[in-house]
């Protein structure tokens, strides 16, 4: 098929894509990197190896891990439920799943503060059991789960929808249990979409700022994630270190990209039709 696509259209489309990506993504990226190194390598090293930067990185990784784990489980079940069965209220359900993306992150944070914070009805009980949610790590995890909620299911649903249910029905009639059907029939179809979903979810979870910022309390070394740490540095007139710390996020994103490419490469080598 690649050979049949010839000529002007191909190069025009590739050209447009490159122009768009260079203007919208690469230039901002270069800006971040040059700002990060404006005061030289030593200053950069100092900024990223700062005790609080390291703690913030660990916390970000922790929150991202839990958010991706939770949303993976949710995404698989939700995509299965939505595409393999007919039931009433399906559209409302899928729309509800999408809602967290569209809610202003500030409001997202606020509603968790209102639900679990000091003004809420359940606060005394949480207090009694010594459970901290807002202004502690669980709140940050919760906010991260919220903003990335639909990412994995949203990747899976369109693919599963195009694929239909015939194969699963056949397998079920042959007496397969649901997990067997999922593993042998469904999963091979969705694995690449699944990978996209995880990468999207991870990226968004790492970079989330608004909702986490409302819920975190900004306790230095305790509840500061990387994006929050960036904001604080910025607000403290530490312009260059702020960019240096953001470059850590860019770096993690690149690592994730490399991992994804490796997975795709192995998949391809094993003779599967990836693209």
């Amino acid at each position: 098929m690649k050979k049949s696509d010839s000529g002007i259209a191909k190069y025009l489309l590739i050209g447009i894509s490159f122009l768009f990506i260079i203007l919208m993504l690469i230039l901002p990226l270069i800006t971040v990197i040059t700002e990060a190194f404006r005061n030289g390598w030593e200053a950069y090293k100092e900024a990223v190896s700062d005790e609080y930067t390291v703690k913030a990185t660990l916390l970000t990784l922790e929150a991202t891990f839990f958010a991706v784990l939770f949303n993976t489980i949710f995404g698989l079940f939700a995509a299965w439920a939505v595409t393999k069965f007919r039931f009433r209220g399906k559209k409302i359900l899928t729309t509800l799943i999408d809602i967290p993306v569209t809610l202003s992150p500030i409001i997202a944070g606020l509603i968790f503060v209102l639900t679990f914070g000091r003004q809420s009805a359940i606060y005394p009980y949480l207090k009694q059991w010594d459970i901290d949610i807002v202004f502690a790590v669980p709140g940050i995890v919760l906010a991260t789960i919220f903003v990335t909620f639909p990412f994995i299911s949203r990747e899976l649903i369109p693919v599963l929808e195009t694929q239909g249910t015939d194969e699963e029905e056949a397998a079920a009639l042959m007496g397969e249990k649901w997990f067997g059907i999922f593993r042998k029939v469904t999963f091979p179809h969705i694995k690449w979409a699944f990978l996209y979903g995880i990468v999207l979810c991870t990226a968004r979870a790492m970079g989330e700022f608004g909702a986490v910022s409302v819920l975190s309390g900004h306790l230095r070394g305790k509840t500061n994630t990387l994006p929050l740490h960036v904001e604080i540095l910025f607000n403290e007139f530490k312009y260059v270190p702020a960019f240096a710390v953001s470059s850590i996020l860019v770096l993690i994103a690149i690592v994730i990209l490399v991992i994804r490419s490796i997975i795709e490469y192995i998949g391809k080598r094993n003779g599967e039709d990836v693209r």
Partner: protein, 344 residues
Amino acid sequence: MKKIISSVLAFTLAAAVLLTACGSSDRSDGKNNDSGKVTITNVSYDPTRELYAAYNEIFAKHWKETKGQDVEITQSHGGSGKQALEVANGLEADVVTLALEYDVNAVRDAGLIEDGWVKEFDKDSSPYTSTIVFLVRKGNPKDIHDWDDIVKDGVGIITPNPKTSGGARWNYLAAWAFAQKQYGNDEEQIKDFMKKLFANVLVLDSGARGATTTFVENGQGDVLLAWENEAFLSIQDHPDEYEIITPSISILAQPSVAIVDSVVDERGTREVATEYLNYLYSDEAQRLAGQNFYRPSNPDILNEFADTFDLNLDLVTIDDFGGWDEAQQKHFSDGGIFDQIYEE
């Protein structure tokens, strides 16, 4: 249907267990004992980090010498109004050190701080102060010396938005104070002046730091209305590019400190928290404030910094506006004068 219900139950349980698990494992502070180490949390606003990083060290030394106990201070910095909101919603702060009295009042209104906190420490609980000045480009090309120069045609002003930035409310009130001196109590003329001023505003950033970036890094506008300490920080970063201009009249910006009564009583930290704020008035801490470009509230120490600060400046205070609650209501609430400036 039964299956749905049972899996719902199982999952709720699992989720609850998970939350509890990560909830309890992260309770690092716990309760304080009399012996050993004590920890307190200081919830502050943005540009005070360096001040408190240095102050926490000298305070820890002081506490160790007088009480023989180690003290560890957890810092939290953020927008002043947002920080107050978080404390009101359950962020466990032993002390708050915020940008303005109004924000501390919000914590009081949530029932966490007792009435009369303003009189609990010296100088209306403001151990250090600042004021509003102009930051202009080197050589002052637009010849700006006072408030009436910045409302002239062709002058671009950068200031944060008083609606979203607590600090920017001081900017607004400082300009108002000048107009009041100029036009007496003719409110229409004052409003006209303010309208002209905001017509010259090119960018209304959401916070003080954003406004500085717009002015310094992105080169917008001719004059930045800024807190004096922040203006000094910009000069420090770019010594050859900017100048500070002190207007004839400005406002005494009083950041407020207070003990969060209900938290210290619960955690048993009232003594150390009180001493923490009291010691801010010591000579050593006052000098530290001066070195960080805050005006020390102790007049003797302030005079030691006469080279840095313009001490002949005519300063009004928030009391000239009837206190924060009244000023907030009149100027910055929905439909208040600030809204009218834009809406009419």
